[in-house]
């Protein structure tokens, strides 16, 4: 099972390197990692997706906890969490396929950010599955480049 860990980290030099280093040293693979500031400028939030099948998630979180800069870790409950990812996709779009691509974009509520003579850039926000799905549909047209932010997530409710 994929786990989404929401990690509050002191915004100190080297904190990100320590976390990335810990994953590589302990042989844990990161599926995705997104970092951003929080409402408190001294604290950053990292959203880390890991595969719990490959590594016992308990070891991952305990080892993370040992890092002095890590303040809090939440293993987000997927049933009670809203998770999103953003992707920018540059796809080949010669005149003959442009219409079809725009249709796909519409179905997925993707924004078209840029149209060049032979390519187009789409912006899509959604669950990882949704991003995967649009990627799959666009692949036959020829994806030039895709940039994904990695998953960010937040728990529902009052907490």
């Amino acid at each position: 099972m994929k786990h989404t860990l929401s990690v509050l980290v002191e915004n100190k030099p080297g904190a990100l390197a320590r976390i990335a280093g810990l994953f590589s040293r302990r042989g844990f693979n990161i599926d995705s990692l997104a970092v951003g500031i929080t409402d408190d400028p001294d604290v950053s939030r990292m959203t880390i997706t890991v595969d719990g099948k490959e590594h016992p998630i308990e070891q991952v979180t305990k080892q993370l906890h040992k890092l002095i800069n890590v303040i809090k870790i939440t293993d987000l409950d997927p049933h009670n969490t809203v998770a999103r990812e953003l992707a920018l996709i540059k796809v080949k779009s010669p005149a003959r396929s442009r219409g079809e691509i725009m249709q796909v974009a519409e179905i997925f509520r993707a924004n078209i950010l840029d149209v060049a003579r032979n390519t187009m850039i789409l912006e899509i926000t959604g669950t990882t599955e949704k991003v995967d799905a649009i990627e799959e549909l666009l692949t036959p047209h020829g994806i030039v480049e895709i940039v994904r932010t990695g998953r960010i997530a937040i728990e529902r409710g009052e907490k």
């Binding site: 980290v9 030099p13 280093g21 800069n69």
Partner: protein
């Protein structure tokens, strides 16, 4: 006040009395301040020596060891020492100089990314970017190094930070959002543990180095006595339980005693305290105390169920938890007689699988030297070891009875650790006899520190069990690699006694068994650094031995 002065003030505020180091370009300002500070600095001959001395000092005293090195090569020379401290959880603060802030990242002269290089082997590290942070960072560093599960902390200080001015105020408060070691164990878990202990018929305590860091050896002894439970210790735990006691099983694991390994394999309750189920201890995991319920008391939650899943985990400081556990046990009426058949069984194993070696008439057996060290010092010495066969013989043939009196690189297995660690230990506890039980290979990895020992007249004794081999590796080649001795015979050996004399230490070569005792006595009496070159039987092996990955009862050479 200058940054360098704030550093020294901060060190004094932490009660630092001894520092080990060697200067270089970017720590000249700090050394200039140390020049007339009242903290004793020991100039080493290689920075690795400084790190191990700080480590040995820490292990012998419980205080945090401090070492200093310059940037680049100075700092990289510390790396093995930092890793050694990390693996064995010893409190240490390593101060490294760094190039001027403005030059960081430019491949400046003697620049190395010290915090980057050491990141996987430190408990925490700092790169000072603002001189005002010095008091806070030092306060935090010492707190982090010494509290919870101890470990090394690196503070990297650019040279301009040592020179910049600040308004120094001693730091009192510590505010670390992400660091709060658990002291007290969970009540319910402790109760559950007590119930298991009260019911167990074949219990074994498996005690590790965590007992030493937490100072829980008295509580451990009380627990063992109270519930009549045999105790085995890891290499790191040697000394926490007196091996002269009938409940002692000695060390367990790859080179453990036969009776310890049988007892652990057959127990119905394993009480692990401050130990981490290392592969050298457990052998094949699936058969390690397979039938037993398991209690695991440890300061570090990440150690719980890392290698072995346990029934009752208790996170907390070993001493605090044991105190509470003893209270709980008092409430239950425990029939101490219930472990009697088990203790009889253990005692049978002790008879059928004793530690032994074949003593010779003139030739010196390495085990004999270790036993003789025990007799001559009445078991009161601080024993340091190098790594290899010497280490295992020192662990097995000396009856360890006191915490902090056995100092060895367990986790990393660092050859060259023992001698500088012995110097550090002697500085920390000058009244004790300190002996490094060494191998001829290992000793040469930090032999240059003889100069340091002579320089400050630190009378440590190096007892080389000289077999002319990288003996432990040779042993593996003999047993598992068809006697193909690839690069383990040290063809060209210096005359260690003459090397010692050249450095200004006492050097004695011993070739006859009958001279062993006198040589030891002479070295102790000399009150100056001494090297005893014991030419021991060359191809002697350490037994029993469990081949890597096998169950710990599958011992080679375990029976007479």
């Amino acid at each position: 006040m200058k940054g360098s002065e704030a550093i020294v003030e901060s060190l004094k505020a932490e009660g630092v009395e001894a520092i080990f180091g060697l200067p270089g370009g970017v720590v000249i300002p700090l050394y200039d301040t140390l020049y007339d500070a009242d903290i004793k600095h020991y100039l080493v001959r290689h920075e690795q020596g400084a790190a191990h001395m700080a480590d040995g000092y820490a292990r012998a005293t419980g205080k945090t060891g401090v070492c200093i090195a310059t940037s680049g090569p100075g700092a990289t020379n510390l790396v093995t020492g930092i890793a050694t401290a990390y693996m064995d959880s010893t409190p240490m603060v390593a101060i490294t100089g760094q190039v001027r802030s403005g030059l960081i990242g430019t491949d400046a002269f003697q620049e190395a990314d010290t915090t980057g290089i050491t990141q996987p082997i430190v408990k925490h590290s700092y790169l000072i970017k603002d001189v005002k942070d010095i008091p806070r960072i030092f306060k935090e560093a010492f707190y982090i190094a010494s509290s919870g599960r101890p470990g090394p902390v690196v503070i990297d200080i650019p040279v301009d930070m040592q020179l910049a001015e600040l308004d120094y105020k001693p730091q009192k408060k510590i505010n670390l959002l992400g660091y709060k070691p658990t002291l007290k164990g969970n009540r319910r878990q402790i109760k559950a543990a007590a119930r298991l202990i009260a019911r167990a018929e074949r219990p074994v305590i498996y005690a590790g180095g965590g007992i030493i860091s937490s100072g829980a050896d008295r509580e451990l002894r009380r627990l063992a006595k109270m519930v009549q439970t045999p105790v085995t210790t890891t290499l790191m735990g040697l000394g926490t339980f007196p091996e002269t006691d009938k409940l002692s099983l000695g060390m367990l694991g790859m080179h453990g005693t036969g009776y310890a390994n049988y007892a652990v394999t057959n127990c119905d309750l394993l009480i692990a305290i401050g130990a981490r189920f290392d592969d050298r201890v457990t052998g094949k995991l699936a058969t390690f105390a397979a039938e037993a319920k398991k209690i695991h008391i440890d300061q570090d939650p990440a150690e719980i169920s890392k290698n072995v899943v346990v029934d009752v985990p208790i996170v907390g400081d070993a001493r605090t938890v044991l105190k509470d556990l003893l209270e709980e046990l008092k409430k239950l009426e425990i029939d101490t007689g219930r472990t009697e058949p088990w203790l009889r069984q253990v005692s049978d194993w002790k008879k059928s699988h004793p530690l032994f070696y074949k003593d010779l008439k003139r030739e010196i057996m390495p085990q004999f030297v270790v036993e003789e060290i025990y007799r001559v010092t009445k078991g009161k010495a601080i024993i340091c070891t190098e790594v290899g066969q010497n280490q295992m013989w020192a662990a097995l043939f000396y009856q360890h009875s006191k915490a902090r009196n056995f100092i060895s690189s367990g986790g990393l297995g660092t050859m060259g650790f023992g001698f500088p660690a012995a110097i550090g230990a002697k500085i920390g506890r000058p009244r004790e006899t300190v002996i490094d039980i060494a191998g001829d290979g290992s000793f040469q990895m930090n032999i240059q520190e003889l100069s340091t020992a002579v320089n400050y007249n630190i009378p440590v004794i190096v007892a080389i069990l000289n077999n002319g081999y990288l003996g432990m590796v040779r042993q593996w080649q003999e047993l598992f690699w068809n006697e193909r001795y690839s690069e383990t015979c040290i063809e060209c050996q210096p005359d260690f006694a003459r090397v010692a004399e050249a450095y200004g230490a006492l050097g004695i070569t011993i070739k006859d068994k009958n001279d062993v005792t006198d040589a030891l006595r002479a070295a102790i009496k000399a009150k100056r650094p001494a090297v005893l070159d014991f030419r021991v039987k060359r191809d002697e092996n350490v037994f029993p031995m469990v081949p890597a990955g096998k169950s710990i009862t599958e011992m080679i050479g375990g029976q007479k």
